[in-house]
């Protein structure tokens, strides 16, 4: 693995994992515990409505409606349900972290790759990389700089490691000059990276 230090994008180490997962699936199927069709159905259900568009809509609503912002920060699950996300409820506790002038939040899962899939879609490969997971907690400013995000001097950085049952979503600061935009236009400004904290918006 030497020579890969600092490489947040390409992680070819994922490939042997995929092969191991497939071998495990074959063993479980051979033991009669499940079927390929059942596994496919689980994944299809998981990803059917999962998209960063959902998280972006929540951020845009929060910018447009201070009352929603307040509810979002107080109870992420209830606020997600208000917009129709999670159906009978998200399968995790959702905690929304509000960025502010002088405060930037960054989300990581150092143990694996925990992340609110239903609100952000499948996680990007860099989020699962050993480099991101180990460096985000150790030197977040350097990591953010590599993502092209230079924080104003004096900005406090808070890193949230999702080690248990909470999944985190960052609420970016509303960009200046967007006062006249409607909610749909605001939502189109929000990126998956902004909701993880590796981008400003």
């Amino acid at each position: 693995m030497s020579g890969q230090h600092g490489d947040l994008a390409g992680d070819h180490g994922e490939l042997p994992v995929a092969a191991r997962v497939r071998r495990l699936e074959e063993r479980v199927i051979a033991a009669g515990l499940t079927t390929d069709a059942e596994l496919d159905a689980v994944l299809a259900r998981l990803y059917r409505d999962a998209s960063p568009v959902n998280g972006a809509r929540m951020a845009a609503r929060a910018w447009a409606d201070p009352g929603y912002a307040e509810r979002l920060l107080a109870d992420g699950n209830a606020a997600a349900a208000e917009l129709g996300f999670g159906g009978a409820g998200l399968s995790y506790r959702l905690k929304v972290l509000a960025n502010a002038p002088g405060l930037h939040n960054l989300v990581v899962c150092t143990l694996c790759s925990c992340y609110p899939v239903s609100l952000l879609g499948p996680s990007p490969s860099w989020y699962k990389s050993l480099a991101y997971r180990s460096r985000a907690v150790r030197e977040p400013r350097a990591v953010l700089a590599e993502f092209g995000l230079a924080l104003p001097e004096g900005t406090e950085v808070a890193v949230w490691d999702a080690t248990a049952e909470t999944r985190y979503l960052v609420l970016p600061v509303r960009p200046p000059g967007t006062e006249r935009l409607g909610e749909d236009e605001l939502a189109s400004l929000v990126t998956r990276e902004g909701l993880i904290g590796t981008a400003a918006v």
Binding site: R93, K95, T110, L111, V137, R138, E139, P140, R141, E156, V157, A158, V159, W160, D161, A162, T163, A164, E165, T166
Partner: protein, 89 residues
């Protein structure tokens, strides 16, 4: 034990011989309770097939980077089941 926000806690230092969800980088370090997130089954028990697993409060705990790494001005929060923590006084 229910730990209010602001309580100073130390993450347990030992390395258990089974699955745990306490990241190694906080073990033995002192942080501060941010909030209690609810009660959840202890994964250490679940992974060992202990039935029923213990159910414990899970806390968000904030550590200064300088405490964890000897450098850095950021803060890092992890979530910790109650038995991962001891009061630091």
């Amino acid at each position: 034990m229910s730990l209010p926000p602001g309580t100073r806690v130390r993450a347990r230092a030992g390395d258990p011989g089974h699955h745990t969800r306490l990241p190694r980088y906080v073990r033995g370090h002192t942080g501060e309770i941010v909030e209690c997130t609810g009660e959840w089954p202890l994964p250490d028990d679940g992974a060992r097939g202990l039935v029923p697993p213990r159910v414990e409060p899970v806390y968000t705990v904030r550590f200064p980077a300088a405490q964890l790494w000897g450098e850095g001005d950021h803060v890092v929060t992890v979530e910790a089941w109650e038995s991962y923590l001891e009061e630091a006084g």
